[in-house]
């Protein structure tokens, strides 16, 4: 069944988009991530312009992190204090990101920047995660105990604050900075940033695993809601029809993914996720290096008359 997307300005097959939403939702439910880094490239692949894809995926991620955040809230697995400090940075970062997005679009370099950030970010995070997962897997094979976590330089910073539910005593500076960075890259790349945020919170900020996913979902939810609003107001690029189809597919797929994820061990899960992220990054890298099929592109500068 063909459906015309009003903002993307092209007809798509509803079932194809629904299936894409469900597939990405399955993966995101399995790994506990938003899945934006898969959804945006897939949309670009079916012919939606990167700008519209990034803006529309923001609302899709908001929907899936909303249902996730609600269930974590019921389980009291969210640290409200930590979430609000993160959000101070997150909202600032998102606003900066959308502003940069608008500037790059005017310069005609938006598509390049989206591709470049995907390459850099995904290959780095992907290979880190993959190697870490591999090491953890080997360690459990040998039966060795994981190395004890020690305090690092971050815990020497001033402006400390006590986060009760997470049972940590931490400076707000790194937390706000993490929020800004995630908000910024999220709004430019059309990703929630959960797959970067969760490792940063665990390894750098030493947030306990009991509250880390729920709290990161709150950040994702709010930054993506803000990104949707800003993209809608400044660039008029959010395709609500596309977003709705993705949401319906995504939230459904996520439920099945979450059940499948429970059957796989943590290290293997991280290994798989690392591999997945890495391959998306490599895919973008190849795209940039090989000669494009067409060197020319056309963009309409708003119709008149």
């Amino acid at each position: 069944m063909q459906l015309y997307l009003p903002i993307a300005d092209l007809p798509v097959n509803v079932f194809l988009v629904l299936a894409m939403g469900a597939a990405v939702g399955f993966v995101s439910g399995m790994f506990g991530i938003g899945g934006g880094f898969l959804m945006t490239p897939l949309l670009i692949f079916i012919g939606i312009t990167p700008a519209v894809a990034v803006a529309s995926v923001a609302s899709h991620i908001a929907a899936s992190s909303c249902s996730g955040a609600l269930s974590y809230w019921r389980r009291r697995a969210i640290d409200p204090a930590l979430a609000s400090v993160l959000l101070c940075g997150g909202v600032t970062g998102t606003a900066l990101g959308v502003w940069t997005f608008t500037q790059l679009r005017a310069l005609g370099q938006l598509d390049l920047m989206i591709a470049l950030s995907y390459v850099v970010l995904l290959t780095t995070v992907g290979s880190l995660m993959f190697s870490e997962g591999l090491r953890a897997l080997l360690r459990t094979r040998r039966g060795a105990v994981p190395p004890r976590r020690t305090h690092n330089w971050i815990h020497g910073l001033p402006l400390k604050m006590r986060f009760k539910r997470s049972k940590i005593y931490l400076s707000v500076i790194p937390v706000v900075i993490v929020g800004i960075v995630i908000g910024f890259i999220g709004s430019i790349m059309g990703i929630g940033g959960g797959f970067i945020l969760v490792p940063i919170m665990i390894y750098l900020l030493r947030v306990p695993t009991s509250t880390v996913i729920g709290t990161s979902m709150i950040l994702t939810l709010v930054t993506m809601l803000v990104a949707t609003m800003l993209h809608a107001v400044t660039n008029h690029l959010v395709d609500a029809v596309l977003a709705l189809i993705l949401m319906v597919g995504g939230v459904t797929g996520a439920q099945f993914g979450a059940r499948a994820g429970q059957k796989i061990r943590g290290e293997q899960l991280r290994l798989l996720l690392g591999l997945l992220i890495l391959s998306v990054g490599v895919r973008f890298a190849i795209e940039l290096v090989i000669q494009p099929a067409d060197l020319f592109t056309i963009r309409e500068l708003g119709a008149s008359g």
Binding site: Y4, S67, H231, H236, T252
Partner: protein, 256 residues
């Protein structure tokens, strides 16, 4: 004496015969509506060449060129070049108020219909249509084989938005003709002008114009308009939709 008078009359008739034909045309639909499941359509343009008493008797074979011009817009064509090993948009040209849709149809190849000189003046063929570029502060159309111009036409043609078909017009009788105007799924909305130019023996002898309108209707038009005009409300609605979907999912799939 009688012969001389006849000859003079004939000369007079031929002189005034330049506008002796009348073109009567119509399109099958003057208002095309793009609905959410619109996947392209074809309009039919039909018409006839009406002769009158002043038409020379030997003028029987006519040629027609139909030009369909969609709403005009400014467009930018960018060229990628390899910089530091990756492909980056470097150079660009701005096309000013060029048709977003352009179709040229004829009953036989353009070069057989008329001379290159007249073809250029009457903008017959994609190579002769005026596409104004901004070249370093100046406004001009460039030579047809300019890299940006030909890339622009090629890309628009690939999307089905620019087309040229010298066999699309068919004469049903020597004076009755018809042609199809294909409108692809991603057709721009707005007013479309149709120009029908009549040629005989290589000479341009007249033209007529008609128009049709493409409008989006229904829900998706409402969405597109709201997004552009009321960004704030649209954003809030999308946000509310996201929250609702997420909330509903958490209820539907609640385990406890």
């Amino acid at each position: 004496m009688m012969r001389a008078a006849l000859a003079i009359l004939l000369v007079l008739l031929l002189g005034s015969a330049a506008r002796a034909e009348r073109l009567i045309v119509s399109v099958s639909n003057h208002r095309v509506t793009v609905t959410p499941n619109y996947s392209g359509e074809e309009l039919v343009l039909f018409g006839s060449v009406e002769k009158d008493a002043t038409t020379p008797a030997d003028r029987t074979a006519y040629d027609l060129v139909v030009t369909v011009i969609g709403p005009r817009a400014d467009m930018v064509t960018r060229r990628k070049e390899r910089t530091f090993g990756i492909w980056i948009n470097t150079d660009y040209r701005q096309f000013l108020q060029v048709p977003s849709y352009l179709a040229l149809f004829a009953n036989r190849p353009f070069d057989l219909i008329t001379s290159p000189e007249i073809a250029r003046r009457q903008q017959i063929g994609l190579n002769n249509v005026l596409l104004t570029q901004r070249v370093s502060g100046d406004y001009a159309d460039v030579v047809p084989n300019d890299a940006f111009r030909s890339a622009f036409i090629r890309l628009r043609t690939q999307r089905g938005l620019y087309r040229e078909d010298p066999s699309a017009v068919t004469f049903l009788t020597p004076t009755l003709f018809r042609t199809g105007i294909p409108l692809p799924a991603e057709v721009p909305i707005g007013t479309y002008e149709v120009e029908i130019k009549l040629f005989a023996n290589g000479a341009f002898i007249g033209k007529t114009e008609t128009a049709f309108e493409i409008v989006k209707v229904g829900f998706e038009q409402f969405v597109a308009t709201t997004a552009r005009q009321n960004g704030l409300i649209y954003g809030l609605a999308t946000v509310a939709m996201a929250l609702m979907t997420g909330w509903m999912a958490s209820i539907v799939f609640r385990k406890d």
